[in-house]
Symmetry: C2
Subunit: 351 residues, 2 copies
């Protein structure tokens, strides 16, 4: 009875009372249901490939939907399911040299992320920490932090949002509440140390700011593999090619005359290379140079750069997978990604 009244009301109301501009309205499941001669829920199930709909009906509905260019209204689904079907990647976007994640790496990470998030039917939202924290909206299911830098306070604030939260970087002491995934920086530093030791290098210059946990790990790995045999001079400096140039020049001015430079990143190492070559030194005859990351430019540097490769694409995919598991209710553990040393002319070149 109520049903009848409502139907009558609906058909009488030629001009809808409230609501936004109906001119922009698209095809809905209801429309599609009428066209197909079934109910809306059947459309829903058919488009989801549910077993509850016969294959024949399912196909008919799917082709009908395709023919009419039907697109699912995400807002309605999200509202009903209490999920946003989107995850957020937080990035420090300002183009500064002082950035722990360099550009090609960032793109590869995002590429991997995009792959898994799309496969899971999720959108990938890009933002930075300020925007994320100042938004008063509840529109994401989980957060991924790329390039944590050395700032714990921001991580804690983001964590306070109460969403699944995965950070790319070096794991801190436990208890943060979030999940950390990163490369095995200690092992990376160690393999550099072993390589240089095998080459008989004794006087190392390390470029990078140990305030970043990743950098500290790389340095400690390097130290552990070279303990007795090498002397290591550390110059704390930000990331970037310019910083590598400056730091190397500074070291030389201050009297450093070693036989190897290790950059905490490829950009740092390539900056060092520029300064060394400019000073008339031969690489690797006088000074060997090693980087970290294996960005594309490393292979085509003036002297191809020996460096530590990390599988960024896989890393991005792993970040996404873990976050999505967490969103789905599991509680996955952290993980370290393996690394591998790529030997090039900057350490093993012909003399």
């Amino acid at each position: 009875m109520i049903d009848d009244l409502e139907r009558a009301g609906a058909s009488v109301t030629v001009k809808r009372a409230g609501g936004p501009d109906p001119a922009r309205s698209r095809l809905t499941m209801g429309d599609l249901a009428q066209l197909a001669g079934v109910s809306a829920i059947t459309i829903s199930r058919a488009l989801k490939n549910s077993d509850l709909v016969r294959p024949a009906v399912r196909e008919k509905i799917q082709s009908l939907a395709a023919a009419h260019g039907y697109r699912l209204n995400t807002a309605a689904r999200n509202l009903r399911l209490r999920r946003n079907h989107s995850i957020t990647a937080v990035v420090n976007m300002t183009p500064s040299a002082d950035r722990p994640i360099s550009d090609p790496i960032f793109l590869a990470l995002v590429g991997g992320l995009l792959q898994v998030s799309t496969d899971a039917g999720c959108r990938l939202i890009l933002t930075n920490a300020d925007q994320l924290l100042s938004s008063r909206n509840d529109d994401t299911d989980g957060i991924i932090f790329l390039g944590q830098g050395s700032d714990d306070a921001v991580l804690r604030e983001v964590n306070a949002l109460g969403l699944p939260f995965v950070v790319w970087g070096a794991p801190r002491e436990e208890g943060g509440g979030w999940l950390t995934i990163g490369s095995d920086n200690v092992r990376g530093g160690r393999s550099i140390g072993e390589h240089l030791t095998a080459l008989g290098r004794k006087q190392l210059l390390f470029l990078g700011d140990p305030a970043y946990p990743e950098v500290a790990d790389r340095l400690s790995g390097l130290r552990s593999a070279t303990a007795a045999s090498c002397e290591i001079t550390v110059i704390a400096c930000p990331f970037g090619r310019g910083a590598g140039m400056t730091a190397t020049a500074q070291a030389m001015t201050e009297g450093w005359r070693g036989d190897a430079v290790v950059g905490a990143s490829d950009t740092l190492a390539m900056g060092a290379m520029t300064t060394l070559l400019g000073a008339g030194l031969h690489i690797p005859h006088h000074v060997a140079v090693v980087g970290f990351d294996d960005i594309p430019a490393a292979a085509t540097a003036p002297v191809p750069l020996t460096t530590v490769r990390q599988d960024w694409d896989k890393a991005g995919a792993l970040l996404g997978t873990k976050l999505l598991q967490w969103v789905a209710g599991e509680r996955p553990g952290g993980e370290m990604l393996p690394i591998s040393l790529v030997e090039r002319a900057s350490t093993i070149g012909m003399r």
Copy 2:
């Protein structure tokens, strides 16, 4: 009366009939309304700073919302307003050398985009063309295409979605239906030509694939400024440092012995530089080198690179602004961004 019945029904129904897991539910406007002793709509208005709510009430509600950590349910608002409050940036994410937009540029563009979209209360979604086209969802208000490459078919497909659509690149013949915004590539090429002509260079090598409209424009600008005075050899090659190295080597093998190389991008020019230096040539004494884009690495190349600067941050902001205007119902026109030549040692170095 109906009201009373429903209230009674609600209070009796301890366990709700349908719906998803209620444990995960957050605070809603209704809850907040009860706490504040007003109706939900008043909460809505107060949080929007509407004049329809007294300032005193407004402030009380806002602080209440803040105290309880209330976050607006975006899905519900989007459903009601028939807007997604999100725009999509489409990017070719695969790390290939054959990419018309290099990484730092991409990040700067995205940074500018992020700025304006957030200011407008919009989320920025990142995706690639495949994902965008295969999605059967209707969850974005507009699309921005970064790095169109030479593939018109994809643009037409995206355009067929019927959403506001802005493309970064060189404008094509009219009638596409979408909006194109790009740098003034012709003028950029021309200023390179004028610069090299003033320096007395006569035999130019141009690296880049004219199949890309941007590249074709740069080349035609270069030609127009050097018409009588120069001979230009064109080597069609993809983007990237490696391609620049190979192409230059190829040109020299084939007998090219000119006095200037112009790369369609900085990466191409820097690759050329590597090959030239490796062949024992002096830059710019024997050969001047010019790039395009002014990526950060250009300033710190072995020989700092003369190049054409484009304001990427501003470009991203402009892309976003135009798209948002279109989303809001206006129909803004296309635009060209100004460029400027940055003269460095690769053309005006001491001899």
